[in-house]
Amino acid sequence: MSFARIVTVTALSAAVIMAVSTATVAQVKPEDSIKYRKAAFALIGYNFGSLGAMAQDKKPYNKDEAIRNAEAVAALGKMPLEHFGPGTDKGDTKAKPEIWSQMEKFRGLMGKMNEQTTKLAQVAKAGDLAALKAQFGETGKTCKACHDDYRAK
């Protein structure tokens, strides 16, 4: 294969990949975004609830399970924000319109939540239940911060 051909093929491939990926992004409809973020929150809820049960002595503490839950919460916690784009304020959602009128504040609160969930995953790995309980509480407060102001009841 000549050099010119390699350049041509590479350029074409890049163009195709870009076109495809742009098309994919453009095809995320508002209702898809709502679906994704709700799915992320549902899984966060499941994993955080499991940690809560351990933190509140409602089920026995299991280090491996706690790590799995906390890592899931940390990873999933980064997903919803990008799905609060324009047009996703209407539909099957409890998200309040204030999210979009106060997007900077909302982003800030999401960022704080991500900081705490990252820390939660680290604490879970350390395996100290008392520290996990404390960090669980701090993380819960950052969930509540948005639920109080940006989530319809």
Binding site: G137, G140, K144
Partner: protein, 232 residues
């Protein structure tokens, strides 16, 4: 029930029995704690819930005490018609309202309102989900529709509670600055100043042990509801 006269000097009159007074101040403490712990969230939320169970037991006690307790605590003794409330406001405005024994006609409705609002708050709390990590003890016993309905009522009723407590506090201030009378002291000591010229009304007071028995039953019932029944 035999009358249990409580000692009072000629210049003062025993109006509130010990159980009613203790109920009042413990309830106040618990409600303040519930509001603060709800605002903080995090690991305070389980304590918010426990304090809520205590509120439920206390409100249940007060309802029973309102039927079989001392005269001034009984609903039949202090709840009067809305016309009586109107007359009370009119006479107070003209400075002609006489000395009150127990709740005045307006205060009576305030008591009913406060008990109702707190009862609704405590009961809805049993079913709700904060969608973070805490569910009320009866969450799993009801459908998701009931959960979301109870959750909405709990948050909406919180605002109603602030309103009702606000009215209660404003009324106390009106008494202090308008009528030159403190309602707080009688609720602490049980006695209120009484004009020597006016004969003491005959009031029956129920014994404290009866209040303890009722409270014990109410607490046991709430314990059964929030601890035993959910596991059944």
């Amino acid at each position: 029930m035999p009358p249990t006269p409580e000692a009072a000097s000629a210049k003062s009159l025993r109006v509130w029995d010990l159980p009613t007074r203790v109920f009042h101040w413990v309830l106040l403490t618990l409600v303040v704690f519930c509001v603060v712990s709800a605002k903080i969230g995090g690991n305070w939320t389980p304590w918010h819930m426990r304090a809520g169970y205590a509120v439920l037991a206390l409100v249940a006690f007060r309802i029973v005490w309102g039927f079989i307790g001392s005269d001034t605590a009984r609903f039949t003794h202090f709840v009067r018609s809305p016309f009586a409330v109107f007359r009370y406001f009119r006479d107070s405005w003209r400075g002609k309202a006489g000395a009150e024994v127990g709740h005045n006609p307006a205060g009576a409705y305030s008591v009913l309102l406060l008990l109702t609002v707190l009862f609704v708050q405590a009961v809805t709390g049993l079913f709700i989900d904060d969608e973070i990590a805490n569910q009320g003890p009866l969450y799993a016993k009801v459908s998701s529709d009931v959960v979301s309905w109870a959750t909405r009522i709990h948050h909406w009723n919180e605002k109603v509670l602030y309103g009702v407590v606000g009215i209660h506090v404003v009324a106390i201030l009106v008494y202090v600055f308008g009528k030159r009378e403190t309602l707080v002291k009688p609720m602490l000591t049980g006695d209120k100043p009484w004009p020597t010229a006016v004969p003491h009304p005959a009031l029956r007071f129920a014994p404290t042990w009866l209040a303890l028995v009722i409270l014990g039953i109410c607490a046991a019932a709430v314990y059964g509801l929030v601890v035993i029944y959910p596991k059944a």
